[in-house]
């Protein structure tokens, strides 16, 4: 089976516009819409084969262990599907959501925090559907909420409620929550970090390295507003830092170039850090459809599985 690369330029109509999505007040419903859309997209998409592997469902082929046949799917669809859950059920995913004030900024009708919460909810919902255990940590300068990774009835709802709380934190400090996660989560799992990373990255590498050293798979989502990315302001104005309240009078036309350069350098630094630690780093503009973000996570998972499988098949000796 070929693995066609995901084409991000899919027809826009197939993806859900985040603006429209954010009009849904219920976070769980929002996540469900995304996931179901994602599913529908997958089923209608020409990359069917890809998705089977991707979603850990595979049509039964001879030589497959019949123990892994999903009889429920067979009952519904009269088809044989192999469900490989030995790995996945063990998956513990921790969603680390930044609730600092900088996340409360948004120029497109909703904030980065809302976008991050929706993304986290989508991931949680998706993983929950797969039967994975999902945990949640919200943080700003310190850990705010902590929900251990579980897969039980009501947990998802609890998680959704926690995510639905408004972002009312203070400044961003990634060090404390990352260290705390490293302390709390002993078992290996997937750590999804949702933040704008608009903070100094001095100690980020060390803390991320601590997580990676624990065997966690780390996915970093840098969520940024389009205005932050393009700095589309035109008129001179008094800019106020939503996090610190600091004000600055500046002429955007004059400051844009330097800003973009610095932002890009910052993002490059983040990517480099993640790259060194084997963590996936995705920069998400808040106008980007959430399905694509979900896709990024799954692709990351798939890539990692492939790498692991290759490493297991050939082994170090082979190399």
């Amino acid at each position: 089976m070929t693995k066609p690369a995901f084409n991000p330029s899919l027809p826009a109509a197939r993806l859900i516009d985040p603006r429209a999505l954010m009009t849904i007040r219920n976070l769980e419903l929002r996540a469900r819409v995304v996931v179901e859309g994602f599913w529908n997209g997958i089923h209608r998409s020409p990359y069917h084969g890809f998705s089977v592997e991707f979603t850990e469902y595979r049509q039964y082929t001879p030589d497959d262990d019949p123990r892994y046949l999903d009889w429920r799917v067979f009952a519904r669809s009269d088809r044989y599907f192999i469900k490989k859950f030995e790995d996945e059920t063990n998956l513990r995913c921790y969603l680390l959501s930044d609730t600092s004030r900088s996340m409360a900024y948004g120029s497109v009708g909703y904030t980065k925090a809302q976008y991050a919460a929706t993304l986290a909810a989508t991931l949680a919902y998706f993983l929950h559907l797969q039967g994975d255990a999902v945990g949640l940590l919200t943080f700003d300068r310190q850990l705010r909420e902590y929900l251990p990774a579980r897969h039980r009835a009501g947990h998802l709802r609890h998680l959704m409620l926690t995510l639905g709380q408004p972002a009312a934190g203070s400044a961003t400090d990634l060090a404390v929550p990352l260290r705390r996660v490293a302390e709390l989560v002993r078992k290996r799992g997937l750590v999804v970090l949702l933040s704008d990373f608009l903070a100094p990255l001095d100690r980020l590498e060390r803390d991320l390295a601590a997580l990676a050293a624990c065997g966690h798979e780390v996915v970093v989502f840098q969520i940024l507003d389009p205005a932050e990315l393009a700095f589309t302001f035109e008129n001179p104005a008094l800019f106020e830092d939503v996090e610190s309240g600091r004000t600055l009078f500046l002429d955007p036309a004059a400051a844009r170039k330097e800003y973009l350069r610095r932002l890009e350098a910052h993002c490059a630094g983040l990517r480099a850090t993640c790259g060194r630690l084997g963590a996936a780093c995705h920069r998400l503009e808040t106008t980007r459809p959430l399905e694509l973000a979900l896709f990024d996570v799954l692709r990351q998972r798939m890539r990692r599985r492939t790498q692991v499988r290759r490493a297991g098949r050939y082994g170090p000796n082979h190399a």
């Binding site: 205005a227 932050e228 001179p236 800019f239 106020e240 600055l248 500046l250």
Partner: protein, 702 residues
């Protein structure tokens, strides 16, 4: 176009503000929240070409509005040509009015005045015409325009200065108001009516408070007469004054009298301690002086015991003052007038039933007046000297013809005779006194009594009784009287009549004098008159009408006219007076007024027997030496012009006033304000429209 407040045009520089604001990119006070400023650094607003191009119309409108407002606030007006003052080089008519009042004797005021007059007279051009006037109570022309013009060009100033030097300050008071009017009139009259500028009046004075400016109040200053005031200021300013108040104890017969003087201290005086007391001419105090403490601006009244008549002191002197021109008050000792009343009657003096008994007791002796009643037997011959000395003749018994003639001579000279008709036997005597052949008298005895019913209170004899409190004569009963027919006596005037209609008191003129006829006696046999309260006042009234001097002493000031009637009447020759400086002055025959009171001091009428003295003092107003402000003259309506910088200031002020009047008439600022408002309204509308359009465009692009 001119501006009343041109400095407001600087406000036009404010057009720089919209220019700069248009060049600076539009800033906003609104805060723009942003995720993080960690990648941003402050950048100042930049000047852009784009904004200048975009809002050019708005910029122009705003600049125009500011300029219009600046011009409006500058109070613009359209200047018209104003008649310019005459060129300084043209001929002028100048009256130099110099104060020669007593207050100019202070310190070096007169030297200042002469120096100032000299500089003025030397500075006039040969074409100028100058008159020199001096004034105190009156204005004296020293040099007239004609005399000035007649003098050779080089000697004019010397002539005027010589005249001025010959007229130093006297002792008179200051009548500045009258002097200004006189001088202004002279200036206005002497110049042609066609000329716009009649001339200039230069006043050299100390401008003291007591200058009497009141006449200026109702005076319309002649057009074109310009007044310049050269206010002279004395070096020293301490001045206290002495003023004669009044003599106390006039009514006391022999008691100790005192002279009351007021010691005043000028408000700007620096001295407070003074001594005051009687003094001899040119000498120190006689007796004890009184030490007074008078703060500046206040006055004290002090009573000084009047010295005895034999003491030669005649003045009260104030010591401790810088300016001594007003530190002396002259006072003559009170002189006792001795009046003689000649009673022509035969009765015994001690008989209480006779008129003489009451007459002697009617006149009381006072310090100023001693009335001597001399009884003279009717049968004895009346000496000429005796008749001359008598002021009043009272006839109570029939007189021989010679005596009547002697009395008639005195009557013709102005004396008075009172005929008391005790009986009808006096008919021939009365006829003799009146110069008639006969007068018929009829003894009348009323049933009960008669009383005075018709009294002419307008007559000087009864004028003191005119007040209703004293006019009741009904309690004076007359038991009998002698009826006579007033119509039979030419010129007779009934002053009082009985209730029966018969005359009670008649006045008949006789030569310069007169004969008073009382038709009843005052003794108890005839009437109750002698016992009534009316008797004594009536007698004094008769005495006063006979020419007795006024008991109240008169105070004279320098320049006053002193009446000397008794001298002129009594002596047909000229009276001779010795003036305080020792010189003598003669009063022309027939004149009764002495007007040469040019200096304070004691004036003595040496020709009178005995010599009569009167004191003349300084006008108290001269002691009010506090300088007046020149503005006071302006307030009184005199158009004072200033000299030097003050004159230039005055010219500027006048031009400014004219400009202000023009501006207030034209009110051009209103048009500028309205235009500016219109421009601003249009600008507001345009700015709003532009803003909306930009907002719409912005919404469309986003």
């Amino acid at each position: 176009m001119s501006f009343l407040a041109p400095w407001f045009l600087l406000g036009g520089l404010a057009v720089a503000a919209p220019l700069v604001f248009h060049l600076i990119r539009r800033t906003t006070r609104e805060r723009t929240p942003f995720g993080s400023l960690m990648f941003l650094f402050p950048t100042p607003p930049r000047i852009t070409r784009r904004s200048r191009l975009e809002h050019l119309i708005l910029l122009v409108l705003r600049c125009v509005a500011i300029c219009l407002l600046a011009v409006g606030f500058g109070r613009p007006f359209l200047k018209k040509t104003v008649a310019s003052p005459p060129a300084p080089g043209s001929a002028r008519r100048i009256v130099l009015l110099v104060d020669t009042s007593a207050s100019m004797r202070r310190a070096n005021l007169w030297a200042q005045a002469r120096a100032r007059a000299e500089s003025i007279l030397r500075s006039v051009s040969s074409a100028d015409q100058v008159a020199l006037f001096a004034f105190d109570r009156q204005v004296r022309p020293l040099v007239t325009f004609e005399q000035w013009n007649a003098a050779p060009g080089g000697e004019r100033a010397a002539l005027a200065l010589g005249k001025l030097a010959a007229n130093p300050p006297g002792w008179s008071g200051t009548r500045l108001g009258d002097a200004l009017i006189t001088a202004a009139e002279a200036l206005a009259d002497s110049s042609g009516k066609a000329s716009a500028s009649a001339g200039r009046l230069i006043l050299l004075t100390d401008l003291q408070e007591g200058s009497h400016l009141e006449p200026l109040q109702g005076y319309e200053w002649p057009r074109g007469v310009e007044l310049s005031v050269e206010a002279l200021k004395p070096g020293r300013s301490s001045n206290a004054s002495l003023q004669w108040m009044a003599e106390a104890g006039d009514s006391g017969a022999k008691g100790a009298a005192s002279l009351r003087v007021r010691v005043g201290n000028a408000a700007d005086s620096r001295r407070e301690q003074f001594q005051v007391g009687w003094a001899r001419p040119g000498g120190g105090f006689v007796g004890e002086s009184k030490t007074l403490y008078v703060p500046p601006g206040q006055s004290r009244v002090v009573a000084l015991p009047t010295p005895s008549a034999g003491d030669p002191v005649d003045r009260v002197v104030l010591r401790g003052d810088d300016e001594d021109f007003d530190d002396t008050v002259f006072a003559v000792a009170a002189e006792t007038a001795r009046l003689k009343v000649l009673y022509l009657g035969a009765e015994a003096e001690q008989d209480p039933k006779q008129p003489l008994y009451f007459l002697r007791r009617a006149f009381q002796e006072t310090r100023r007046q001693v009335v001597q009643v001399l009884a003279h037997s009717p049968t004895a011959a009346l000496g000429a000297a005796e008749a001359r000395d008598a002021l009043l003749f009272i006839v109570a018994d029939p007189l021989p013809g010679e005596t009547c003639d002697a009395i008639r001579v005195q009557l013709a000279a102005g004396k008075t005779a009172l005929v008391v008709l005790k009986s009808t036997a006096l008919a021939s005597t009365l006829a003799g006194l009146l110069g008639l052949d006969r007068v018929s008298l009829e003894e009348t005895r009323p049933d009960s009594y008669a009383m005075l019913a018709q009294i002419d209170f307008r007559h000087p004899l009864f004028a003191p009784f005119a007040d209703p409190r004293f006019s009741d004569f009904t309690r004076v009963h007359f038991w009998k009287y002698r009826r006579l027919d007033p119509a039979a006596i030419p010129g007779a005037r009934v002053v009082a009549g009985f209730d029966s209609g018969a005359p009670a008191l008649l006045e008949v003129p006789a030569g310069k004098g007169r004969v008073l006829v009382l038709t009843s006696g005052w003794q108890p046999a005839d009437s109750q008159l002698a016992l009534s309260t009316k008797f004594v006042p009536l007698l004094y009234s008769i005495l006063e009408q006979s020419g007795a001097p006024d008991p109240a002493p008169a105070q004279y000031r320098v320049g006053d006219v002193v009446p000397l009637p008794s001298l002129a009447v009594g002596e047909r020759s000229a009276a001779v007076l010795r003036l305080p400086d020792g010189s003598q002055a003669e009063l022309a025959a027939g004149q009764t007024n002495f007007s040469q009171t040019t200096m304070p001091g004691i004036y003595t009428v040496v020709s009178a027997q005995p010599a009569r003295r009167f004191a003349v003092n300084l006008d108290p107003a001269e002691s009010r030496t506090l300088p007046l402000s020149v503005d006071e003259l302006e307030r009184m309506g005199a158009p004072v012009s200033r000299q030097g910088p003050a004159a230039a200031y005055e010219v500027r002020r006048k031009i400014r006033l004219e400009n202000a009047e023009l501006e207030s008439r034209q009110k051009l600022w209103r048009w500028f304000a309205v235009t500016a408002l219109g421009v601003l309204l249009f600008e507001t509308w345009l700015a709003g429209r532009t803003g909306r359009r930009l907002a719409v465009q912005g919404g469309a692009t986003s």
